[in-house]
């Protein structure tokens, strides 16, 4: 199977499974506009077959992305050989994020586990077990009324910014949809997309924290 046997095939798997966060940020943004609408989305994405299927595809893609990340890193370290360079430099065209994708990914992954424990384990999981659950906004309140949550989330989002700023354009390069014109374009779009995702998630987290700790009342 060329998706496991060839280096380009393995990178294709990384790129496709990496492009999965595109919709998620948009659904959360709804909660800022209207908490009722957020409840409606939570209701809609309960234990319906399409929500479960979506979750499985998301989780599967994520799991494959992580497994491949460690597998590829092990192969790459082996290819580098046993002797390391005594002096190393970073050429100025090389992004810092591109050399630290695994570490950034691990930070994002730690954040995600926390995030799933705080939300998914209380929202979709109980419903799958047949229990009745509360309104979506009650979980937002339970989480964001605690002050420590915000800084931890912001660290996760920052790691995500760096991860996406390289990962997004890299995915299109791997899929062969780039050339001399499009490499700089994708790199630019990549920074924009990373920033949009970061700002959306960060604004949401900051808003919920201020709202549910009673600092602002709107």
């Amino acid at each position: 199977m060329w998706l496991t046997n060839s280096s380009v095939g393995r990178k294709v798997v990384m790129s496709v499974t990496g492009l999965f966060l595109v919709l998620h940020a948009l659904m959360n943004a709804v909660a800022i506009i209207s908490l009722e609408a957020y409840d409606a989305i939570c209701e809609f994405l309960g234990a319906n077959w399409y929500a479960v299927l979506g979750t499985l595809v998301l989780a599967g893609g994520f799991a494959i992305h992580i497994i491949y990340a460690f597998w590829l890193t092990l192969q790459n370290r082996k290819a580098r050989g046993n002797n390391r360079y005594a002096v190393t430099t970073k050429p100025k065209d090389v992004e810092w994020a591109s050399q630290n994708m695994l570490v950034l990914g691990i930070i994002v992954c730690c954040f995600l586990i926390l995030h799933l424990v705080q939300f998914w384990a209380k929202m979709q999981l109980p419903e799958l077990m047949g229990e009745h659950i509360m309104r979506g906004q009650d979980y937002l309140q339970a989480t964001f009324s605690q002050w420590w949550v915000l800084p931890v989330y912001l660290i996760g989002f920052a790691a995500l910014w760096f991860h996406i700023s390289h990962g997004f354009w890299s995915a299109f390069q791997t899929l062969g949809t780039a050339n001399d014109k499009w490499i700089p374009r994708w790199q630019c779009i990549s920074k924009w997309w990373a920033s949009i995702v970061f700002i959306l998630f960060a604004v949401e987290a900051i808003y919920f924290t201020l709202h549910f700790t009673g600092v602002i009342n709107c």
Partner: protein, 251 residues
Amino acid sequence: MDTSISFKLKVWRQANAHAEGRFETYEMRDIPTDTSFLEMMDILNEQLIEKGEEPVTFDHDCREGICGMCSLYVNGHPHGPATGATTCQLYMRRFKDGDTITVEPWRSAAFPVIKDLMVNRNAFDQIQQAGGYVSFQTGGAQDANAIPISKDAADEAMDSATCIGCGACVAACKNGSAMLFLSAKVSQFALLPQGRAEAKRRVKAMLAKMDELGFGNCTNTGACAAECPKNIKLSNIARLNREFLCAKCSD
């Protein structure tokens, strides 16, 4: 301005492929700044021979930047701190009096050290042999303009063909990947009608050989293109990916 400099030279010494390597430091005195880096290495070797020591082994041949034989990882850069130049085109005026210059071999599992600074780059030959050529049916030469080729495609193919196969891309890559080399060798044919006939077979065979030889996976970091002495572009790797995916999809 000083016309000669003195510096410390930290050189990787390794007796053979299986021996443990180590750094040896040599004091270099009054080296003219017009000396090329390889001439400076020659001066060091003359001194070592006079003292009855083993000279430092390093690869070199044409000394004009076209053969791809010289290597050396100097101060954290393959082919040294100059851009768009090979080690033989590097001059001592790039360095300052009192510097410590660290010289290492290419470090990659696919390029094992033979001795000191010389590594075995036979893996590149094997990749080329797997498909980096055009099979010709011999016969009368056809008219020069029988196959029209756009100027853009011809230029791009020529740029890709300037790869000298020195291995700096592998040396620079944190993953020890040979994708820039492979992509240049695939691109120079993929862009031209003469190369299209065997394009699918070529890209699959060469990529399979590269993977088999233990090179790493590309993470699009771009250190290869930044350090390439022939300025081979990163877009070649996108073309290689495209060629490979199209070949696989049409299987």
